[in-house]
C-alpha cells in the first residue's frame, strides 16, 4: 500500500473544501447539542424526578447505531446536511447533558447560598455563579462531544454527505488507498486541533482555576 503523493497535491482544493465541510458539520452538531442540553440540564439538576428520565433517555438514544440514526431520519429530512447535523446532535446529547448536570451538581451549596444572601436573583445566580463554576466539567463534555462528532461525520458518507468520509467511499470504489489514508489522517488531525483549541478556550474562560497552583 503506497501513497500517491501527486494525487494529494492535485487535490488540495477538494481536500480543503471537504475538511471545512467536515468541521462545519461537527461544530454545528456540538453547538445545537449545547443549545438543547444546557436548558435541559438545568431542569434535570433542579427537578430530581426528571433527572433519571432525561439521562436515561439520552442513554437509550446513544445505543442506536449512527448509521441507523441517519437512515431513520431520511423520511424526515432526506439526503441533506440537516440529516447529518440532527444525527450528530443526538449523539452529542448523552455526553453534554450528563456532564452539564454533573457540573451543576459540583457547585458548592454554600456558594449558592452566599449569592442568595447577597440578594442575587436566581437567574443571575445561574448565569454568573453556577455556570462559570460548572464550566470545567461542562467543557470536558464539550471536548468529548467534539472529538466524537468529528469522527462520526464520516458515517454520513452513506447518505451522501460526510465531509472527509467521502474520501473513504471514493478510495473504496476505485480500490485506491491514498484518499482513504489522507481522510483518516485529516480526521485525526482535525480532532487533535479542535481538542487543543477547546483546551485553550477553557484556559481563557476560567482564570480563577489557575490562581491556586
Amino acid at each position: 500500500m503506497t501513497i500517491d503523493w501527486s494525487w494529494i497535491s492535485d487535490h488540495t482544493d477538494d481536500l480543503t473544501t471537504l475538511t471545512v465541510s467536515h468541521l462545519q458539520a461537527a461544530l454545528s452538531a456540538v453547538l445545537f447539542g449545547l443549545l438543547i442540553s444546557l436548558p435541559l440540564a438545568v431542569v434535570a439538576h433542579r427537578v430530581r424526578p426528571l433527572r433519571g428520565f432525561l439521562l436515561g433517555l439520552s442513554n437509550v438514544l446513544f445505543t442506536i447505531p449512527s448509521i441507523a440514526v441517519f437512515v431513520l431520519l431520511l423520511p424526515v429530512s432526506g439526503l441533506t446536511r440537516t440529516t447529518t447535523v440532527i444525527g450528530l446532535t443526538i449523539y452529542t446529547l448523552v455526553v453534554l447533558l450528563r456532564n452539564t448536570v454533573e457540573g451543576l451538581d459540583s457547585v458548592p451549596t454554600k456558594t449558592k447560598e452566599a449569592a442568595k444572601a447577597m440578594g442575587t436573583r436566581p437567574l443571575r445566580t445561574l448565569l454568573t455563579v453556577e455556570f462559570p463554576l460548572a464550566l470545567p466539567v461542562i467543557m470536558a463534555g464539550v471536548r468529548i462531544a467534539t472529538v466524537m462528532s468529528i469522527s462520526l461525520v464520516s458515517v454520513a458518507t452513506y447518505i451522501g454527505d460526510g465531509g472527509l468520509g467521502q474520501l473513504f467511499t471514493d478510495g473504496f470504489q476505485r480500490n485506491f488507498p491514498t484518499p482513504v489514508i489522507v481522510g483518516v489522517v485529516l480526521t485525526l488531525l482535525l480532532a487533535v486541533v479542535a481538542d487543543a483549541a477547546l483546551v485553550a478556550v477553557q484556559y481563557a474562560l476560567t482564570p480563577w482555576t489557575r490562581r491556586r497552583a
Partner: protein, 220 residues
C-alpha cells in the same frame, strides 16, 4: 409516513423475510457472531492491559490518551483501509471492531482500578498478600462493576458498528441497510436499522440485568 411504517411492520413480521440464507435469522446470527467475537478479542487485549496499568500505576498517560484516540478514529476509514490492504477477508471487520472496543475496555478497567480505596490495598499488603494476590483477590473484585460497564459500552458500540461489515461485502444486519440504500428501498434500510438498534438495546439490557444479579450482594 403511515404507509412507510405499515410496510416496515410487514417487512419485520413476514415469515419469508425471516427464513432462508439471506433471511433475518441468518443475518442476525452473523451480526451476533461478528459482535461477540470482536468484543471477546478486544476484552482479551484490553482487560490485561487495563489491569496492568491500574495495578502498577504506570502508563496512565497511555490509558487516558488511548480513549480519545479511539474516539477520534473514523471506523469507516479504518475498515476501508484494512480492506484495501488485506483484500477480501474478515480482517477489515474484526480489526475495525476490535480497535473500536479496546479503548473503552482499557479506560474503564483502569478507571475501576484507580477507584479502589488505597487504604484497602494497603490493608491487603499489610496482611502479607503478594502483588498478584492483591490484584486478583482485592482490586479486581472491587473494580468489577466499572469493568463490566466498560465491556457493556464496548459491546453496544461494536453491535452498532458491525453494520459496516456489509459495506465491505459481508453479512450481518447491515446487509439490509446497504442493499436497501443501493436499491433505494427505504423500508429495507429502516428495517435493518431498527433491528440493529433493537439488538444493541436488548444486549445492553441483558448485560445490565446480569450485572445486577451478579452484584446484588453489594448494593447498599
Amino acid at each position: 409516513m403511515y404507509e412507510l411504517f405499515k410496510n416496515l411492520g410487514d417487512w419485520l413480521t413476514s415469515g419469508e423475510q425471516w427464513a432462508g440464507p439471506d433471511g433475518i435469522a441468518t443475518r442476525l446470527a452473523e451480526h451476533l457472531q461478528y459482535s461477540l467475537l470482536a468484543t471477546l478479542i478486544a476484552a482479551a487485549i484490553g482487560l490485561p492491559l487495563g489491569l496492568l496499568i491500574g495495578h502498577t500505576g504506570k502508563g496512565a498517560f497511555v490509558a487516558i490518551n488511548l480513549s480519545s484516540f479511539g474516539r477520534a478514529l473514523p471506523t469507516v476509514g479504518l475498515v476501508v483501509l484494512v480492506f484495501l490492504a488485506s483484500g477480501l477477508s474478515m480482517w477489515p471487520v474484526y480489526v475495525a471492531l476490535v480497535a473500536l472496543a479496546v479503548p473503552a475496555i482499557v479506560t474503564n478497567t483502569y478507571a475501576g482500578m484507580t477507584a479502589v480505596d488505597p487504604d484497602v490495598k494497603d490493608a491487603a499488603r499489610g496482611q502479607g498478600m503478594r502483588g498478584h494476590q492483591v490484584l486478583f483477590q482485592v482490586e479486581l473484585p472491587l473494580a468489577l462493576p466499572l469493568i463490566m460497564t466498560g465491556l457493556r459500552l464496548a459491546l453496544i458500540q461494536v453491535v452498532a458498528t458491525a453494520t459496516i461489515a456489509a459495506y465491505v461485502s459481508f453479512g450481518g444486519l447491515g446487509r439490509y441497510v446497504f442493499d436497501g440504500l443501493a436499491q433505494r428501498d427505504l423500508v429495507q434500510v429502516m428495517g435493518g436499522a431498527v433491528l440493529v438498534a433493537v439488538v444493541a438495546i436488548a444486549l445492553d439490557l441483558a448485560l445490565s440485568a446480569l450485572q445486577r444479579v451478579l452484584f446484588r450482594h453489594r448494593t447498599a
